[in-house]
Symmetry: C2
Subunit: 378 residues, 2 copies
Amino acid sequence: MLRSVTLNDTQAIAIGAGILGTGGGGSTYLNRLRLDNEIRQQGCDVAIVQADDVPDDALVCAVGGMGAPTVSNEKLQAGDEIKTAVRALENHLRQKIHAIVIGEIGGGNALGPMIAALQLGLPVVDGDGMGRAFPELQMDTFMIYGAAPAPFALADSHGNVSIFTRIGSAEQAEEFARSLTIEMGGSAALVMPVMTGAELKATVIRDTVSLAKRIGETVLECRARSIEPAETIAALCHGKVLFTGKIIDVERRTVAGFARGRLKISAFTPQHPTQRIGDSAPREAGGPRGVLEIDFQNENLIARDNGAVLCTVPDLLTLVTLEDGEPIGTESLRYGLRVAVLAMPAPKELKTPEALAVVGPRAFGYDVDFSPMAGDLL
Amino acid sequence: MLRSVTLNDTQAIAIGAGILGTGGGGSTYLNRLRLDNEIRQQGCDVAIVQADDVPDDALVCAVGGMGAPTVSNEKLQAGDEIKTAVRALENHLRQKIHAIVIGEIGGGNALGPMIAALQLGLPVVDGDGMGRAFPELQMDTFMIYGAAPAPFALADSHGNVSIFTRIGSAEQAEEFARSLTIEMGGSAALVMPVMTGAELKATVIRDTVSLAKRIGETVLECRARSIEPAETIAALCHGKVLFTGKIIDVERRTVAGFARGRLKISAFTPQHPTQRIGDSAPREAGGPRGVLEIDFQNENLIARDNGAVLCTVPDLLTLVTLEDGEPIGTESLRYGLRVAVLAMPAPKELKTPEALAVVGPRAFGYDVDFSPMAGDLL
């Protein structure tokens, strides 16, 4: 059972969170540097608590960064936005927050809450609301399973803070928060929702910090042993390597506060012998031999081969570099990268009818039923 | 000294506020109906207090509607948005509001605060922060002379409420509030700023509710005596009739949350005898004989004749119908209206260097110095 996150763990968690991030959740690079720095400055590790150890009547809040990864990658944070927003909410509610909850375990959003927790002197719950990353704030299990959208807080890098005290729905919250985030320069800290311990226990996806750490450690082990990590990661996450190849096209635009776009990956083929150097057996044997197309909205949403749908949200689609299993955010996609596409089953909490109404392919505008992969992420 | 606003006063105040509105501040029509209704329902008049009678340490707040008049004219309010926002701020501050202050006396924004005051059981201060209407929220004497921009509250017709608890500047507040207002459908209730009685006394433009009433009563008297009211209104406001003629062109677009555009008015000329029916002597004798162009951003900003600047913000430019002196909002401009253009000097509080930096022609992007009319509005 994970009790703390130390300097020895941050690299693994950053890699694991990147892989769970399905292309989004923000780059882990800067946040890992910031987390290491914060641990050193504070002189203590990040305390981790189990959701079931949080008292039923204690208050907790989910936190994270809102905005397009293309923006947050370049627009530096002040570093204390989440803390500022949490303090503003505590002041508004006249109640102390007991523990910090990671809104989404995917990408840099796994690490930002740990930094804030250190600054606030609070523990972090081993779990999150997505088991991955999603682009919109109604898309977490807290909101899906009934947490109240208000009050929530947004803070920017200039210290501006807004608390939404009454909101009709989580979707409405998303619209207001997105528009304000854009006005705040395209990235902001979000604290939402505020929950009791009882609500947390009823809705959280447990053990995802532990999972991120385990995935990252596996990748690091593979690297140490010079093994391409894709198959090993896939097995650990009960998924598979969907495709391997080279990125041949990326269409990307930052629009309405999101990084949206489409990428194409061309399979390695016997016709191009130079591309096969170092290819391992599974890659030659497995997967379709065409061009894989992936649509993304911050996160990878759907993978298609010649129109045939191979994998959709909420199942996880992550690109990693072939050689060392480094997760590739949608803001870092570029022509020529040699990648493996991992497909991993969603956590079971995302596959109920209530959840699929919010995070299934139709919620993203695809006229496709969700055809789940076998198994669950954890 | 005005002590209350009764059912007998609302028509006059609506007309006077419309004339002070310089085309903006929202239509008075709906808000007058709503105010009459509220007075009848509550069974009491709107209590008016003098700014100097508010205790120095009491809290007051300025309130009004934010958005483009083109929108608020068509998108009905729930009716209690301002009340909701004031209550949310009281709850956030854990302090009661002592009196309601009208943010801008121009247009429907003179009347909305009275409705809210009745709902809240609070008096309204005889004064406001503009002595007219302006399009942006940093453009009031409260903010110009140092009131803090935070906390402020926005509420929409669905009951959604946001409180901005920390804001770097009034201009920043304008940007956030405008973007959220657009997301809220183009109109919202704004409560800003919260001030002490001492701050109010140092910054408010006094007696503008009384002035609006007096202007409206004058118009009604003129109508009763079948006199075209323009010259009489102008004299009462220490201004002049700048131009009379027919609107021949209106270019209007609702953009970035504002009603922006330009109108052209062609002077009545001897060459068109049919247009002279009913023309009175002053109109034939006075004013330039060309085409007057007026630019507006919710409010009329600048009047030019053949490129020569005749009048700019912060001096007041208001169009009224020729026959009965009814003020014409920028959302109601249309081809063929026969109008008088009133030019009236701004209140002295808007003509200091600090104020002109915020509400002078350069603040609106015009490369023109402010050339004040003689005198002051009041």
